[in-house]
């Protein structure tokens, strides 16, 4: 699963220019290159702003500079309204970042989704994460109509058909097919535990080339899951990135566990936070340890660090964990040496990092 390590970080004159697609690759994106080169990849998540200001997106992304290989743009996560993942990804792509566009089946039917997949690819997006999506009742518009015309597996197949068969679901041919590296999510930590590996296998068969998991706070469970996945050879068919969460306090952890569907946090973690003098620091230490343990787990290709409302900690956690070794992921260069990079205003960075820390 690896090819040459060189040129992973190469880019064009303008940071937003597409890279050259490597032989054997399905996209021209940097994220796929990092994984196929055999590196342990680190991805994170950006919270799309409630705003039309592109600087806000760039300021949020800047927090991750030099520490992550790709940035997931969430798609109305928790069924709350924010800037679209497509908008966020277009802004990030122009600055040279490698965004992963999250596509949820909750809000769009198959006509809209295929159109947006083409639109995203046309705007330079190279990676897509196919999700079924949360229930609308969980968010700030519970009166909205849940669409769910497709589910995540049908969406994976749809993306593959657009890309590999260069046609719509209807059969109508495309003039140019989207070059997208296709991903899916898994949650090995909730019932039916015995069948979660089958679900992973199904997603890979439907077309998933990379996987990002839900929060992992239970390394033993992860090890059992990965051992079965490796037995079935699934780690050789897709790059599996394991989700890491950052807990600010025992209270947050308890709230997450009982209010956010699919979050499994063992009592041991909560007790550890409760017993700590500085719960915030302990939360970060837990994340650092999880990153290290995940890297040691056979079959794992990377970590997906989700630090909702603690984005400013991402760099520190990645650095302390040492999972990148001496590799430094690509980041935009300062304004004077690169054409076309928009450097976000300092005040915007401050206003984001200043909150809730």
């Amino acid at each position: 699963m690896s090819d040459d390590l060189d040129f992973v970080e190469e880019f064009g004159v303008n940071p937003g220019d597409p890279l050259v697609q490597r032989p054997g690759h399905v996209s021209h994106g940097r994220f796929e290159r990092v994984l196929r080169a055999g590196h342990f990849a680190v991805t994170t998540e950006i919270a799309p702003p409630d705003s039309v200001d592109p600087d806000e997106v760039l300021a949020r992304a800047k927090l991750f500079d030099g520490y992550v290989d790709a940035i997931n743009a969430t798609d109305g996560s928790g069924a709350n309204c924010h800037m679209s993942s497509l908008g966020v990804c277009a802004i990030l792509t122009r600055a040279g970042y490698s965004p992963i566009i999250q596509f949820s089946c909750r809000d769009r039917n198959r006509i809209a989704m295929q159109g947006d997949l083409l639109g995203a690819a046309a705007l330079g997006v190279c990676s897509v994460l196919c999700l079924t999506g949360d229930d609308v009742g969980a968010g700030d518009h519970p009166e909205a109509k849940p669409v769910f015309d497709l589910d995540s597996i049908s969406l994976l197949q749809t993306t593959k058909i657009l890309r590999d068969e260069s046609r719509f679901l209807s059969g109508r041919p495309l003039d140019a097919a989207p070059r997208l590296f296709v991903g899916a999510s898994i949650n090995p930590f909730v019932p039916p535990l015995e069948n979660r590996v089958d679900q992973l296998a199904k997603k890979i068969r439907a077309g998933a080339e990379f996987i990002q998991s839900q929060y992992c706070f239970d390394i033993d469970q992860l090890k059992r899951f990965m051992a079965r996945a490796c037995d079935m050879g699934l780690h050789e068919q897709a790059y599996i990135l394991v989700g890491v969460g950052v807990l600010g306090s025992a209270k947050t952890a308890k709230w997450l566990r009982s209010n956010v569907p699919g979050v499994h946090i063992p009592d041991a973690i909560i007790n550890r936070l409760e017993g700590a003098r500085n719960q915030k620091a302990e939360g970060r230490r837990i994340a650092v340890e999880l990153m290290q343990q995940i890297k040691e787990t056979p079959g794992v290709a990377g970590a997906h660090l989700m630090a909702y409302r603690h984005e400013e900690w991402v760099g520190e956690i990645v650095k302390q964990s040492g999972v990148l070794g001496d590799r430094k992921p690509w980041a935009p260069e300062p304004l004077d040496s690169t054409i076309g990079v928009v450097t976000p205003l300092e005040e915007v960075v401050d206003s984001i990092t200043g909150t809730d820390s």
Binding site: I153, I186, N195, G262
Partner: protein, 146 residues
């Protein structure tokens, strides 16, 4: 009804046997009816299917029945309409993320499938429902090979 639906997925093995035993008869019967009456009896046949499968499985008449592949559990009762479940939101006690009082349809489906002879069919990928067929009879479609 919820209780009967749960009973059906618990007894997936027996229902599978019944299905396998009666399927050829039902299909040839429907073919005969089609030859004799054309499409004139489609409405009562569809209504019968709705009644029977509705009682046993809370069938939603999606028009593309997969019960025999999904542990005798109708996936259309999943609030997200997932045909390849479960989602990642299943509660620790096996209940549905969206409806906490309902057992996750796909937890029942995988359990039901584990009891069935051809239970591995649940691993097949099902593409999303064809909405132009919703409300139509899956039996007639099978019989006529449409």
């Amino acid at each position: 009804m919820y209780a009967i639906r749960r009973w059906s997925s618990r007894h997936a093995r027996g229902l599978e046997r019944l299905y396998k035993a009666t399927r050829p008869g039902i299909l040839s019967g429907l073919r005969l009816v089609t030859r004799l009456f054309g499409k004139r009896l489609d409405r009562p046949i569809t209504a019968t299917e709705r009644l029977l499968k509705g009682a046993l499985f809370d069938c939603q008449m999606c028009g593309d029945c997969v019960l025999s592949k999904t542990g005798m559990t109708c996936p259309m009762n999943c609030p997200k309409g997932i045909r390849n479940g479960p989602c990642g939101g299943v509660r620790a006690n096996g209940m549905c993320e969206v409806k906490p009082d309902m057992r996750c349809v796909w937890v029942d489906a995988w359990n039901g499938a584990a009891k069935m002879e051809d239970g591995d069919a649940i691993k097949d990928i099902e593409f999303a429902v064809d909405h132009s067929r919703v409300g139509q009879s899956s039996w007639l479609r099978l019989a006529r090979d449409e």
